[in-house]
Symmetry: C2
Subunit: 267 residues, 2 copies
């Protein structure tokens, strides 16, 4: 690339501008701080034959899998939240699975596209993090974990809920986070658990499956840990079902839609 683009530049961008950059292959990094205050989504693309049961799975598990948009079979355009976007090219990094095996981690999935593919955009914690920051809530995101909570199954889709933990220094901030989460149901809503995560199968919060920072400092004894459903859940579930083809974003490399976080409140 001719010009080096920095994180602070993409943080200030509008979604259309950022997606254009990604589409041209000029940004292949993560999106965690891109397009400040705009909503981000997890992506899962499945064949039409599995789309009803996958949508059903998401509906039955709204905390980890809040559905934000679903495309027409064969169409890469999310008409509800970003009609000008192309989901084949507008995420910085994808993962392509065939029969449950990772076959590629490309920066676009144009060559894998088929007329029967249906794209699901699922709410993402990164959106909620913007909402917490905007409200001056002091928190630390610990990472993502596989809990011992089983999702409600649908067709071939079943398995444990992946969750994310955040820690709060004050009870006031923890309560405020629950209030704020209740407004953002499409970004995982309120937490699914309060307090010691070991009771939902998370033995050591300093060892997430996916860490944001590494090594992760342990929460202080007086901190409150809240656990939310995580948008990795629909991906791991679809993966376990060993679909003939499954396309997801790569962790941290999300889709950024046209909506300000605040526009998704009570949506």
């Amino acid at each position: 690339m001719a010009v080096q683009i920095k994180s602070k530049d993409v943080a200030a961008m509008k979604p259309q501008e950022f997606r254009e950059l990604v589409r041209k292959g000029e940004w292949t990094g993560h999106t965690l701080l891109a397009c400040r205050n705009y909503a981000q989504n997890n992506l899962a693309i499945v064949p039409r034959d599995y789309a009803f049961e996958f949508l059903l799975f998401c509906m039955r598990n709204p905390r980890p899998c809040p559905v934000v948009d679903v495309t027409e079979p064969g169409s890469p355009h999310p008409m509800r939240v970003a009609p000008t976007a192309d989901l084949r090219t507008d995420l910085p990094r994808y993962r392509v699975f065939k029969n449950g095996e990772l076959v590629d981690e490309p920066t676009n999935v144009t060559k894998y596209w088929r007329d029967d593919l249906v794209a699901f955009l699922i709410g993402c914690s990164a959106t909620f993090d913007w909402a917490l920051r905007t409200a001056n809530v002091d928190f630390r995101l610990l990472g993502a974990y596989t809990s011992n909570i089983q999702c409600v199954p649908a067709g071939p889709f079943y398995g444990p809920m992946v969750v994310s933990c955040r820690t709060f220094k004050t009870h006031e901030d923890a309560v405020r986070a629950i209030q704020i989460g209740s407004r953002y149901l499409v970004s995982h809503g309120p937490p699914i658990h309060i307090g010691d995560p070991s009771s939902i199968g998370i033995g050591d919060v300093t060892k997430p499956d996916q860490a944001v920072i590494n090594p992760l400092p342990a929460p202080g004894a007086s901190e409150v840990i809240l656990t939310w459903g995580c948008g990795i859940t629909p991906q791991t579930t679809a993966l376990a079902a060993k679909l003939p083809i499954l396309i997801t974003h790569k962790g941290g490399h999300m889709f950024i839609n046209d909506l300000l976080v605040e526009q998704t409140a009570n949506l």
Copy 2:
């Protein structure tokens, strides 16, 4: 029936008790005041072949069509909101359509049931009315109307949004109703329109397609009219698509699920 059951008796019943009564054919009347403070649902049953696009239609039009539960193909049990219920028998009156034509208005649909049928429970204004009454909001439900707002289509499903209008004597109560609606997204959420309904194609609010009382007194000049998406929308849309078979509840004869209205807040 051996004993005459009165409206005030069913108002005090718990959902399981009321559904048992309905299942035995001992209550075939409307449900508008049954099981006080429990959530009611609209019903639409479609063949599996149409279920994905119908679910997609509902997801794309969440105000008129908030999805509360979807059954497994062939199963009449809504596992999320009333696992002990049987949707073939537990509503007081159904309507059965074949290729878009009404063929029956039975009190159960056991003989029409097929292994490929999928039942959708959709949020219902009656639930929201309980929430308003519980909050001491003074309002009058006018009725249901076909607006000139086109729903977002999905597959064979498209058409105008059916809406319901409520009138409020004070601005305070109208604002309170919007606040309360924002908590009950599965019961149509906030209104889709404020003020004069003629701008969304409703020429005369005293002449609804479905009136609650008849004749309907006109709202006073100082009253505020708010308009909500209505759960009749998915039914009229499915009907217009002339599915080989479509089963709905008969207007006013809803399904009552296990959840208190308050349990559906921020759900």
